[in-house]
Amino acid sequence: MPRRRVPSLVRLPPFQTLLDAHGADVHRFLVATVGRLDADDCYQETWLAALRAYPRLHDASNLKSWIFTVAHRKAIDHVRSRRRAPVAVGAELPEPAAPAATPPGGAGETDDDLWARVRELPPKQRTAVALRYVADAAYDEISAVMGTSEQAARRNVHEALKRLRTEYRR
């Protein structure tokens, strides 16, 4: 007997739906975690990786957590690859020192100061804050994205806020 095609259990929405819903937030998340300069590259890498994996996805119940998990991994990869990048010694003229803080949002200096402070937080706190306040993620979503407990997600946000409060003065 000819085998019937088993219909997929997961009904995946058109990928554009995902991009419309989360594109801007993913970009802001990356600006907050890797900085404005590298956000565009990470954004492309995130969405291309997601697009590649998308048809094989088995669970479409929380696509928001899924896409931010991909973005989070790309941000980590990115930071690692930068750390590994060889530093040319004497081979080329050194670039002039970049300004310490790359503005995450363009205009408005006080905001930029704040997000520059966010980028100086320890990585886990930084990511948790970005997910919470850029992606408007709930704690269970933050824990899903970062692979931590929900308690740890809360603690990361809490510690970050505490630190920002003492360091950030307007």
Binding site: R11, L12, P13, P14, F15, Q16, T17, L19, G23, A24, H27, R28, V31, A32, D40, Y43, Q44, W47, L48, L51, R52, Y54, P55, P104, G105, G106, G108, T110, D111, D112, L114, W115, V118, V129, A130, R132, Y133, V134, D136, L161, L164, R165, Y168
Partner: protein, 204 residues
Amino acid sequence: MMTEIEHELRRSASRSDALPDLAESASAAGLLDVAFATLDSPLGTLLLASTPRGLVRLAYVDHEDADSVLEQLAAKLSPRILAAPRRLDEPRRELDQYFAGARRRFEFPLDWRLTRGFTRRVLQATAQVPYGATASYKQVAAQAGSPLASRAAGNALGSNPIPIVVPCHRILHSGGGLGGYTGGLERKRRLLAVESGQPQLTEP
């Protein structure tokens, strides 16, 4: 309660940037299975979708909801679907010319994947009916290999995934009656009118 710093974080994070274009890099990476775009036409807004093989779907969006058309494409073809207007430049250009009365046949390739069997044969026979001419349901049924199946041919035409381009509007009843049309009979009338050299289509 939201503290001041939380408020600041939220507020300052809400500014939006111009997002990098994903469609072209996805296409270059071979990851764009279905590209879509809309086109404003004298017959209303059209949704166009193509695969790397060619145009696969055209829909009148005031007749069929665009979201549900895209959902069907996700289920039937692939969920890797992105808005990618540049991927549809050629069909859009040719359709514009067609509506302006400046084009009688389309040159871009078609992807017939949404059709099969008798339906595909009927639609491919329909695609051979030239601009300005008409044929009967019976004739296209015969062309498709089943001269007695004119009713089935009508159904096949009713499910045409690429109207206008596959000119199902050129198929009429033998007696001269209009028959049916995917986008409503008024559109069929207007398409036939423009092809018979009557005044150009204007906005509805």
